[in-house]
């Protein structure tokens, strides 16, 4: 009953862990950006990494955490979730991801995040310290409604905090745009579908143009100017401060999305592509980062190679793209690292896979200066593992978010304990 003892240790650690200043030592440090240090130490002061080295002499009275036999990594970042917005995906009342309306840039995921969601402790128990959570209707039309195109603003949040304010790392990390798509199958009715598609593309451009006029009117102090929340939400996008995260799966949509971003001169992040086709060089040329969906996925088309989903990340790497991973399913956030591992099995260099769940994500979501690696001055989002975090059998023994040691128990471990003890 090894895990039992582990939990006991955790619990004890939590009670003692009311301070965010400590020295972690006897630990192998995998900083991600720099060379790893065997048997090193990390000094955390006020929740931030103050020093990293092979030997740090603790000041008197400093709390010391012994990491013997463990490895320290930066906490992992899942770049595509609905965490905090949806609890039981099948029960509408617990789901706050899909608002009405076609263009809804003013919606902010952050304010609807339920800090008490059972998903947070479950996910962080496996070393996930931050996630991008975003509103999304998946482009599905509501009955009688149009397909949603802009679903709102995604937030990068920590996995521990009392309120959503405390969870926030980047309150508005991206605007989520669900790119229209043509029907994937070969059903007839293409001409009509294409007409709708073209109209939707036009609508997107129109919306951005409208926002641009609004900005001119606002900056120029046009008479009769009225504040419009939708348009206000677009300003940071137009000013290049906020990237547009565009969901596009198939080659055609990706191509058109790239062109759209170029036309409108917005910073684009591509979300969840399922194939590259000929788009990879274009993505590279325009420095568009990519959030890959689960590697453990079926091929998109019947004729695709059986391992086409497995090799997608390696192909991105070979094309020189900056990639991060998202699970795009709350239930499996904890399995984020395994998607990266499969990508390694099928050709992605290990270091890149690790970056894709840490520093790359931080960089793409504009918080490279705060998280994503073990570097001096960054927040102490750390996980202490028994081994390679991309391997299933590896256990996370300790987790720190902003230097605070986080409880690793969760709904699952509690039920486990409870029913282990059922007479």
């Amino acid at each position: 009953m090894r895990p039992l003892t582990v939990f006991a240790i955790f619990s004890a650690a939590v009670w003692a862990g009311d301070t965010d200043t400590f020295l972690l030592r006897n630990v192998d440090v995998y900083a991600v950006v720099n060379a790893s240090i065997k048997d090193g130490a990390i000094l955390v002061v006020d929740g931030k990494i103050a020093e990293i080295g092979s030997k740090i002499v603790p000041s008197k009275g400093l709390r010391i955490i012994d990491g013997k036999g463990l490895r320290a990594y930066p906490g992992m970042i899942d770049s595509g979730t609905e965490l905090g917005l949806a609890e039981v995906s099948d029960v509408r009342a617990t789901v706050d991801t899909a608002e009405l309306g076609v263009f809804m840039p003013q919606l902010r995921a952050l304010v609807a995040v339920n800090a008490e969601s059972e998903h947070f402790p479950v996910a962080r128990a496996n070393g996930i310290t931050s996630v991008l959570t975003f509103p999304s209707s998946n482009g599905n039309a509501r009955p009688g409604g149009e397909r949603q195109i802009i679903s709102g603003q995604a937030a990068l949040i920590h996995m521990d905090g009392w309120t959503w304010e405390e969870l926030a790392v980047n309150r508005s990390a991206a605007l989520h745009l669900i790119f229209p798509s043509l029907p994937a199958n070969q059903a007839s009715g293409y001409a009509e579908a294409k007409r709708v598609y073209d109209r939707e593309l036009q609508q997107i451009d129109d919306f951005f143009d409208q926002a641009r006029r609004y900005r001119i009117a606002k900056v120029g102090g046009a008479p009769g100017f009225k504040t419009d929340l939708k348009m206000e939400a677009m300003l940071p996008v137009l000013e290049g401060k906020l990237p547009v995260a565009i969901s596009a799966a198939r080659e055609q949509a990706i191509r058109d999305a790239i062109q759209f971003a170029g036309r409108q001169q917005v910073r684009m992040v591509l979300l969840h592509p399922r194939e590259w086709g000929k788009t990879a060089p274009e993505l590279k040329a325009r420095n568009i980062p990519v959030i890959l969906g689960p590697t453990l996925d079926l091929p998109l088309n019947e004729d695709d190679a059986y391992d086409s989903s497995f090799t997608l990340p390696a192909e991105a790497f070979r094309a020189g793209l900056k990639i991060a991973f998202g699970t795009f399913d709350n239930e499996f956030v904890r399995n984020l690292p395994y998607n990266a591992a499969t990508a390694v099995a099928y050709g992605l260099p290990y270091e890149e896979a690790l970056k894709a769940v840490t520093i790359n994500a931080a960089e793409i979501w504009g918080v490279r200066d705060q998280i994503g690696s073990i570097e001096k001055g960054k927040l102490a989002d750390l996980m202490l593992t028994t081994g390679d975090p991309l391997e299933t059998q590896t256990e996370v023994r300790m987790l720190f978010i902003k230097g605070k040691q986080v409880d690793l128990t969760n709904r699952h471990t509690r039920l486990y304990q409870k029913y282990l003890n059922r007479p």
Binding site: L182, Q186, G189, Y190, A191, E302, D303
Partner: protein
């Protein structure tokens, strides 16, 4: 004139139908009256025909001098039109000799210079040395090819479009509700001689079809019918040739899945076997036995042993072969889009199959950027080669129209099979003798042999050649001319040749 003819015809049909419907219940006297009535009408009609024959020079002068050009027949007097159009007897009884034509008998060798004599709706004689009877109307056959009339192996030509007494809408609560079953419906009973598709089919050289109700799961029983006749009864050659089955599902209710449909069919055949046994036992000794409940669905099942089962993919061919064997029913599989890669199975089973002439095609309005799966592409590429492969493997097969009814489309489809390697003679066979054999009517149909029904197609040029023209068809010895094509070659305009008598 034409209107009068129609009025008469309509009135006659109505009387006939009324009487027919009440016939079983009618008194002997009523029946007698009815028979007298019909006899009188028939007598009147014959009289009219004879009068016309006397007055119509074209038909009065049998002999080599007429017609020099076979198309001279077109200039018949208008009066002849309605008589012949209405009275099949009239022309059928007149002997016709097609002389010195290339006669593709299908059953035997092709005669380079042969004569076919038709009389009373039958082939009276055929051969190289056959003399034209003195009373025969002669058609100079030089340059003409004579084939047996083409047969559509499975069709709904002549079926009312809305025939779906049990068509799949709401399903049942289980097999016991017999959803989608109209096993008792016979195509012969539902025929509509006025269906415009009959005329179009004749223009494509078809004289006969195995016609089936095609909606539901147990759709009903097919009949072999000729594609001309004033009354449905005239057209029927064989009323019960098999039960047409589909693997469809109900819009709501049972069955909702393919496996539900299969289980349902299986249960029905189990029930039918038991039903037959119960009925037999009851027949032997009704006393002391509760009578078996009458089940019209099972009655229909018992009426037709042969079943037609759908099978396009190789998987389906395999599945349906096994299913038919399990049910113990002689089965004809229809569809065969992947027949080209199922030859081993088909050869092993040795059962005949029906090949759909409606070859799979890319939809007209599809996304050009989304190529289909290789297997779909391969199927589209190779489906038309199925016939050639079947012929090579000596698997008996017939073609069926699969909903095509425009002569041009049918021609094109057959040509596609020939283009994919099917010998022309085999194509002809698959549309003549093969379907006749498959349905057990080769003793009367499917080849040009003495005593068989005088269904012929006469062409200038070889059948299915690009420049070939179908000059006329004979149905029950009655001649139908086909108008020259009115649309430009390659055009897709409606081809509605006036294929009837002039």
């Amino acid at each position: 004139m034409q209107r009068r003819q129609e009025r008469w015809k309509e009135r006659f049909t109505r009387v006939h139908e009324t009487l027919t419907n009440c016939l079983p219940k009618a008194s002997a006297r009523m029946q007698l009256l009815y028979l007298r009535h019909t006899e009188t009408m028939e007598r009147n009609r014959r009289r009219a025909v004879l009068a016309l024959l006397r007055n119509a020079p074209v038909l009065k002068s049998p002999g080599p001098q007429y017609p020099r050009r076979p198309f001279a027949g077109c200039i018949a007097v208008p009066a002849l039109c309605w008589v012949l159009g209405f009275g099949a007897f009239a022309s059928a009884q007149q002997a016709i000799a097609i002389r010195d034509a290339t006669v593709v008998t299908v059953s035997g060798p092709t005669l380079r210079k042969g004569t076919v004599v038709l009389r009373s709706g039958l082939i009276e004689a055929v051969g190289p040395e056959v003399a034209s009877p003195a009373d025969a109307w002669i058609i100079e056959g030089e340059g003409l090819n004579v084939y047996p009339g083409l047969i559509d192996g499975a069709s709904n030509w002549g079926m009312p479009q809305n025939l779906s007494p049990g068509g799949m809408g709401r399903g049942g609560r289980g097999p016991e509700d017999r959803p989608g079953a109209t096993t008792w419906v016979k195509a012969a009973d539902e025929l509509q001689p006025s269906d415009p598709r009959l005329e179009r089919a004749r223009s494509a050289g078809f004289t006969t079809a195995a016609v089936f109700p095609m909606r539901g799961i147990f759709c009903g029983q097919g009949s072999i019918v000729n594609l001309a006749g004033e009354r449905a009864g005239d057209m029927v050659l064989a009323p019960r040739i098999g039960q047409f089955l589909t693997m469809s599902q109900a819009a709501s209710g049972f069955p909702a899945a393919l496996m539900g449909t299969i289980a349902y069919i299986r249960q029905v055949y189990l029930d039918a076997g038991r039903y037959a046994a119960l009925k037999e036992a009851y027949q032997r000794e009704p006393r002391g036995i509760r009578r078996p409940d009458y089940d019209r669905a099972l009655e229909g099942v018992l009426e037709s042993k042969r079943i037609l089962l759908p099978a396009n993919r190789r998987v389906e061919i395999d599945r349906m072969q096994n299913f038919a064997a399990e049910l113990g029913q002689p089965a004809i599989l229809y569809g065969m889009q992947e027949g080209y890669r199922s030859i081993d199975l088909l050869k092993k089973a040795g059962a005949p199959v029906l090949v759909n002439l409606r070859w799979p095609e890319r939809g007209p309005d599809t996304n050009p950027d989304q190529p289909e799966n290789a297997r779909v592409l391969e199927m589209r590429d190779r489906a038309p080669s199925t016939a050639a492969e079947l012929a090579k493997a000596k698997v008996k097969f017939a073609f069926y129209s699969g909903g095509l009814d425009q002569p041009r489309d049918l021609q094109k489809a057959i040509k596609k099979a020939i283009g994919a390697g099917l010998p022309r003679s085999e194509a002809v066979r698959a549309l003549t003798l093969a379907p006749a054999e498959i349905y057990g009517v080769a003793d009367r149909l499917g080849s040009i042999d003495k005593g068989k029904i005088a269904n012929l197609v006469v062409t200038r040029g070889e059948l299915f050649d690009d420049n070939t023209r179908i000059e006329m068809v004979f149905v029950d010895g009655k001649r139908f001319l086909t108008a020259p094509e009115t649309t430009a070659p390659g055009g897709r305009g409606p081809v509605t040749n006036r294929g009837n008598e002039r």
